[in-house]
Amino acid sequence: MANPAVELTGVTKRFGDEMVAVDGMDLSINDGEFFSLLGPSGCGKTTTLRMIAGFEFPTEGSVRVHGTEMALKPPNERPINTVFQSYALFPHMTVSENVAFGLQMKKVEKSEIADRVKRVLDQVQLGRRADAKPSQLSGGMQQRVALARALVNEPEVLLLDEPLGALDLKLRQAMQVELKDLQTRVGITFVYVTHDQEEALTMSDRIGVMNEGRLLQVGRSEEIYEAPTSRFVADFIGEINLLDATVVGPDTARLGSGVEVGVPTGGAQAGTEVTLALRPERLSLFDLDEELPSGYNRLRVRVTRRMYFGDVYFYDVDAGLGAQIEVKEENRPGVELYDIGEEAYLVWSPQAANLVMA
């Protein structure tokens, strides 16, 4: 098997004596993969990216790119390019001068530079703005120049540091699709840093979730969303209800209120303290006299809040567990609404929940 595009082994980055930005990180990113590093601000994802780019050197560990050790090499000696969060376009150069910069530094022949710059600018639909200064372009256009400036060098790995953060919602969604298409087309390994879970879920082949300098879970979008292995990952990705529970037998757990519910326990010992993770969209509300699907869990609840989001209704319901439980019901034609104070059954399939250890 070929070497992974990027391989971090035992990478730790300390700033001064106190601050540990990245803590013993092991990560392997495959060739041609769209990999996202996801986490809240200050989790170490940008520091990780900067160590791959060469802007920071790791305090300990190894950074390999296609098998070659790069940990202490300066950025200009790495076959890697970056799309910066702020784009970092050179304000004193035109669009085409910006894009040509990398090729000029690599001493590519003039005629070839002109060809490649023209081709990549056409690719990002900026062929006609080649002579404009960056300040004359809109945010979305600047974003595409930054992308073109990196891609024109045909790097082995492209690093993207929250590249869509500064764009407004519609443009961001359009660029997400564009970026994913582009990556599929050029086949370059993308390492994408974001704090936006939706962005990560929709674009990535795999996601690594980070918190406090540690890589908590790596997996496909579906795995991260549906089978989080830690409370933090479950809570960080999407809306979720986290209920304290105790395993009482095979595929049975007891909630704080004493009610026992069915849940896949995966061989956990009876008496183990666990967290029951329930996505709001997997929950439904039923009338008290309505017939319930057999084998489903049910809790008697009281509605405490209803919010209208257009496509969905969000309910907060009280099941006597301390925290409120959030329920998401699709706004279908003829959907039955529950009023505040009304009692109902909260119903879900045992397969819809999963257990997170502690």
Binding site: A53, G54, F55, P75, N81, F90, P91, H92
Partner: protein, 304 residues
């Protein structure tokens, strides 16, 4: 409800809907207020700057009587013609050369220093800026006299040379002494604008250049230097102009062979009592400075 104390401004506040005429009146009132704010400074400049300048201009066409009196009649261009005699041109060229070399040395020393300050943590930065400004807290004349001691033939520099078995160093009253004094005196005027330009610098652009395969020196040449050009231009002008017309430094550290345009003008007004010629010299210097400044701004602007 109107907040307490707010008053209709200039009687323009009406309850009627706004019309184009009322809008124009409101805009005129705004601009009138702007004018009033600028008035004190404008008044000061006209009184103490423009009027004396006009006087000097008028004097430059006047005649010097045999007793050294300025005769405000028989207007002529003799003083200006004298600007182009070899003796005066040599002084002019010496001053130009000296100001250029001073500017170049200041730039060469200040850029790395300003770069160093600008890349420190804010605490260290402020401390170092205070160090740069400390000389301003004492009198320039006093500090220049101190250089006489340092550069004198029995000064510490010369002593050191002799202790090491060398010749005594005679720097005082030479062109080198004047140059040292000028560089010393005007260095902060170069450091501060350079620092201001580098401090505003977006270092992510340098990272971007490094990311695009530029080594450290190339990234500096292609990104940092062009983007700090406004500081280079401002600093150079701030050093070049005062060193071209410098008077104190050449007068104290220089000798007969180091006469610059500044001390030459002073001698016309005092010793030679030739006010018309001194005035013409002043305007000659102003003209050269204007040309130099315009040229420099143009050249600097090209790289922006």
């Amino acid at each position: 409800m109107e907040p307490a104390g707010s008053k209709p401004r200039d009687g323009l506040m009406t309850t009627a809907p706004v019309t184009p005429e009322l809008e124009q009146a409101a805009i005129r009132a705004e601009s009138r207020r702007g004018f009033l704010i600028g008035l004190p400074a404008a008044f000061y400049l006209v009184l103490f700057f423009a009027i004396p300048l006009v006087l000097v201009f008028v004097y430059s066409f006047a005649t010097r009587s045999s007793t050294g009196q300025t005769v405000l009649a028989e207007w002529n261009l003799e003083s200006y013609q004298r600007l182009f005699t070899p003796g005066v041109l040599v002084i002019f060229l010496r001053s130009l050369l000296r100001a250029s070399v001073t500017t170049a040395i200041c730039l060469l020393f200040s850029y790395p220093f300003a770069y160093y300050i600008a890349t420190r943590t804010p605490r260290v930065r402020n401390l170092m800026l205070i160090f740069v400004m400390i000389p301003f807290w004492s009198n320039f004349l006093v500090r220049t006299y101190a250089w006489r001691v340092l550069l004198g033939s029995d000064g510490p520099l010369s002593q050191l040379s002799q202790n090491l078995g060398g010749e005594p160093i005679r720097l005082l009253f030479t062109n080198s002494a004047v140059l040292i004094g000028l560089v010393y005196g005007f260095m902060p005027f170069m450091v501060l604008p350079l620092y201001a330009a580098l401090e505003r610098m977006d270092w992510r652009l340098v990272e971007a250049a490094r990311d695009l395969y530029a080594d450290g020196w190339t990234a500096f040449r292609k990104v940092t230097l062009p983007l700090s050009m406004p500081g280079v231009v401002a600093g150079s002008i701030l050093v070049f102009i005062p060193s071209l017309g410098a008077y104190v430094t050449p007068a104290l550290l220089g000798g007969a062979k180091t006469v610059g345009i500044g001390d030459y003008i002073v001698s016309q007004f005092l010793a030679a009592r030739n006010w018309p010629f001194g005035s013409a010299l002043s305007f000659g210097v102003m003209f050269v400075m204007l040309l130099a400044t315009v040229y420099y701004f143009r050249a600097g602007a090209k790289t922006l």
